[in-house]
């Protein structure tokens, strides 16, 4: 095998001599230090989603101790690397879903609805690492999830950014805890048992009140134990994911969390006609994480099946991304959200970014996730073809350079 590799390398080298590959990058893999673990994957095509949006055909992705050290054309692989040959596959960054509820592998453990604000709650204790839903998600190319509380209360709590390692402990798989805050602006947190929050006015007040207290504590330089994480949000240290819908709910979320509080925030859902305020969100530089509904008919009432995903993307707002709201849509069908967006007219390259780089950027975790670039986590998914085409399948999934799923070994899970 090494011989073929050398031959290949040689052949490629001669081609390289004449080809113009644009910006120069590391042309060889770094040698391994003692104690380091290196892996080098030969693929048919490496879709990097890097700054120049390069695709290497054929490609080589290499990582040391879980971080990518090389992405490019096939090159000499130093001794010690585990070499993985997948010449028929496409290497694509692992997908990221910013709105997932499968931490506890089911519909349970979603909402603690006694208080309308649960700012001190965390989703982490409910997470069952390596649960069957996470494993299937991994086998379908989804490598990072934002596992969050439900939308039953105005602030559900703080979610966990979590990798879908298939056999793991919490500590090995956690990316950030707390990873961000979950807010439900409208369309579910309405209170019906008689306390404040039965109306939009009430919901708005509930949010304004608790945020006001957190901001006051920040201004006074005081640490309120019950609001410590919320205070961090208002210091822009943690992102906020806001569940909202309708043009009114979506606009209200933009107004409150971006224009008024200037937090690091992301709209989530924005369905049921919310796409009609896409321009407003774009003007406010507000990213939108759209789904599970990606089209609308009855609310817009234009007679057309309105392609809301397309409208959001087209508005030019930053980092348009897609979600499943799993298990509303099963987590392993995140790709299908991209497929349906592309079907609506979003260019397939943009639809792919909506599943990878854009959610990473929206949550400011793109220093580690979202693309195949040197220095980032080696979360690499090897596909048999276009990931957005349901006819393609996942061959291999690596999280931080470690193979979590391999179709040849584990069978085809999805």
């Amino acid at each position: 095998m090494k011989l073929t590799l050398l031959k290949l390398a040689g052949g490629v080298m001669s081609v390289l001599a004449f080809a113009d590959l644009g910006r120069a990058q590391t042309e060889s893999l770094p040698a391994l230090e003692p104690g380091q673990r290196g892996i080098a994957i030969h693929v048919g095509r490496a879709i990097t989603l890097d700054g120049d949006d390069r695709t290497h055909q054929p490609g080589l992705v290499a990582a040391i101790d879980g971080r990518i050290v090389y992405v490019g054309r096939p090159s000499a692989v130093p001794a010690g690397y585990e070499v993985v040959e997948r010449p028929q596959t496409w290497a694509v960054p692992g997908m990221i879903d910013l709105h997932a509820h499968i931490g506890s592998a089911g519909f349970g453990d979603l909402n603690d609805s006694v208080f309308s604000v649960g700012a001190e709650l965390r989703s982490a204790p409910a997470i069952v690492p390596g649960n069957p839903l996470l494993r299937t998600a991994c086998a379908a190319g989804v490598t990072t999830l934002f596992l969050i509380p439900g939308s039953g209360t105005s602030i559900g709590g703080f979610g966990t950014l979590f990798k879908t390692r298939t056999r793991t402990t919490f500590d090995r798989a956690v990316f950030a805890n707390p990873g961000g805050m979950k807010v439900a602006q409208t369309h579910n947190p309405e209170r019906r048992a008689g306390d404040v929050g039965a109306t939009r006015a009430g919901l708005s007040w509930v949010l304004a009140e608790v945020n006001g207290r957190a901001r006051a504590a920040n201004a006074a330089g005081v640490e309120d134990f019950a609001l410590s994480a919320l205070q961090r949000v208002h210091r822009r240290e943690l992102p906020v994911l806001i569940h909202c819908a309708g043009s009114d709910g979506t606009a209200a979320a933009v107004r409150m969390w971006k224009l008024q509080y200037d937090t690091h925030s992301v709209i989530s859902h924005g369905s049921l006609g919310g796409h009609r305020v896409a321009a407003f969100a774009a003007a406010a530089d507000m990213p939108v994480n759209h789904g599970p509904r990606t089209q609308d008919f009855f609310v817009s009432r234009t007679g057309a099946v309105e392609p809301s995903a397309f409208h959001y993307w087209k508005s030019g707002l930053p980092n348009f991304s897609l979600n499943t709201d799993s298990p509303v849509i099963p987590q392993h069908e995140l790709l299908l959200q991209g497929t349906m967006s592309a079907r609506q007219g979003v260019p397939s390259s943009q639809a792919l970014r909506a599943l990878t780089l854009h959610p990473a950027r929206a949550f400011a975790i793109d220093h580690r996730l979202g693309s195949l670039e040197v220095g980032k986590d080696a979360d690499v998914v090897l596909w048999s073809g276009d990931p957005l085409d349901p006819r393609s399948r996942v061959e291999t999934v690596l999280i931080e350079g470690e193979i979590q799923y391999d179709r040849a070994v584990h069978g085809q899970w999805f």
Binding site: F298, R301, T302, G303
Partner: protein
């Protein structure tokens, strides 16, 4: 006020005694006659509750009292051809072809007076229920007895056609029963003819002894039997009347597809019917406008503007069907006095939306009269028709209009013009 006073004076001087009330002339600023279009300075001669002469600027014979209403606009009394006002809202659920709505009438109710006060002078009360619920009656909202109220009973047969096997089977079953009855009658006729032949032969033999049996001859001729067919069952008679043209039908549908299933069920049979449909948003009825218009059918709608399916785009089904050539009848939006009061406002809105004005006027007068089978007696200001009239101080479709008076069978029964 001026008008009021002058009108009163006019009537007071014009009608000195009860007997003389049987003949009088009305001189109005404008008459929406329907049959003859809009007539300015119209003169209407009424004798014994019937209009005898209508014309423009006609001179009136000396001695006939004249009621001068130079600023008034008169139109035929409004006719709601399909309502259940004044009868039990719940009704029954039975599907009995022979059931009569007239059986539910209760004469002495305030609602009739209130209805008259809105200008509604004729009603078509239809029976409750689904399928083929029975026969409607045309009534006047006045009278101490049911007989006094009823103008025509039955006025039409009410049917509903839905796109499903059960509903269609009701229709086909009804026609099958009719066919069976007609077969039975045909057989009876055959038998009768055969028997007649036999008895004729017998008589012929007897004729040989003509002289002897002169008297018998005479008797046999006198007693020549007439063919009397057996009477149809109660549930067959209405269908028989339908096929023979003695009765009309109103067929209620809910969507465009129902029309195709109606054609399927009717097959080759021909009878007079009007289509009726409750208008609502997302209704797809426009698909059949052309076909219905081509056949010149009459449609009964409520005066509603609806939204094109799945959109907020507004469409006026009444206007579209009228434009396609259908005859249009419009009924108030609900069975309440308030709705009847608002009726002309709603129709006026349709006119502003593009419905032809004359068609709109016709839709609340002459066309509903035709639905009830009374199109030669009501619904138009023409000679020979009943003097049911409504007087306004301006254009009937103007929301600021004031109703001055209502005339029923040649007598003012409501409004300021009441003597």
């Amino acid at each position: 006020m001026k008008l009021f006073a002058s009108a009163l004076l006019a009537i007071a001087t014009a009608l000195p005694s009860a007997a003389a009330q049987d003949v009088f002339a009305l001189r109005v600023g404008r008459a929406e006659t329907i049959g003859q279009g809009t007539l300015d300075h119209a003169v209407i001669l009424v004798e014994n509750g019937v209009i005898t002469v209508v014309g423009q600027d006609l001179p009136v014979e000396r001695g006939i009292p004249i009621i001068d209403l130079p600023d008034a606009v008169v139109m035929p009394g409004l006719i709601n051809c399909r309502t259940r006002i004044g009868v039990d809202g719940r009704g029954g659920g039975g599907a009995d072809i022979a059931a009569r709505a007239s059986a539910e009438l209760y004469p002495r109710q305030d609602v009739w007076e209130e209805l008259l006060a809105t200008g509604t002078t004729t009603l078509g009360i239809y029976p409750p229920g689904n399928g083929i619920p029975g026969l409607a009656a045309a009534v006047r909202p006045a009278g101490d007895t049911v007989a006094a109220m009823v103008l025509k009973d039955p006025a039409y047969l009410q049917l509903y056609l839905r796109s499903d096997r059960g509903s269609k089977k009701l229709f086909t079953d009804a026609f099958e029963k009719l066919d069976k009855y007609l077969e039975k009658v045909a057989k009876e006729r055959e038998k009768f003819d055969k028997d007649n032949e036999k008895s004729k032969d017998k008589d012929k033999d007897k004729d040989k002894d003509k002289d002897k049996d002169k008297d018998k001859d005479k008797d046999s001729k006198k007693n020549a039997p007439e063919f009397k067919p057996s009477q149809p069952d109660d549930d067959v008679r209405p269908v028989l009347d339908l096929i023979t043209g003695r009765l009309r039908a109103v067929i209620g549908i809910r969507k465009a597809g129902d029309w195709l299933h109606l054609l399927d069920v009717m097959g080759e049979r021909k009878f007079e019917f009007d289509l009726q449909c409750d208008l609502r948003d997302d209704l797809d009825l426009f698909y059949i406008a052309e076909e219905v218009g081509k056949r010149g059918l009459r449609v009964i709608f409520d005066p509603t503007i609806i939204q094109h399916p799945g959109t907020r785009r507004e469409r006026s089904m009444p206007a579209e069907f009228a434009k396609a050539g259908a005859k249009l009848a419009l009924s108030p939006r609900s069975d309440s006095v308030e709705a009847h009061r608002d009726w002309l406002n709603q129709v006026g809105e349709l006119v502003r939306y593009g419905l032809d004005r004359q068609i709109a006027l016709r839709a609340v007068t002459l066309e509903p009269a035709h639905v009830l089978g009374l199109g030669d007696k009501l619904g138009s200001i023409e000679a020979g028709r009943t003097a049911n009239l409504v007087f306004f101080d301006r254009d009937p479709f103007d929301p600021a209009r004031r109703l001055l008076g209502v005339m029923l069978d040649g007598r003012f029964v409501s409004g300021e013009l009441l003597p």
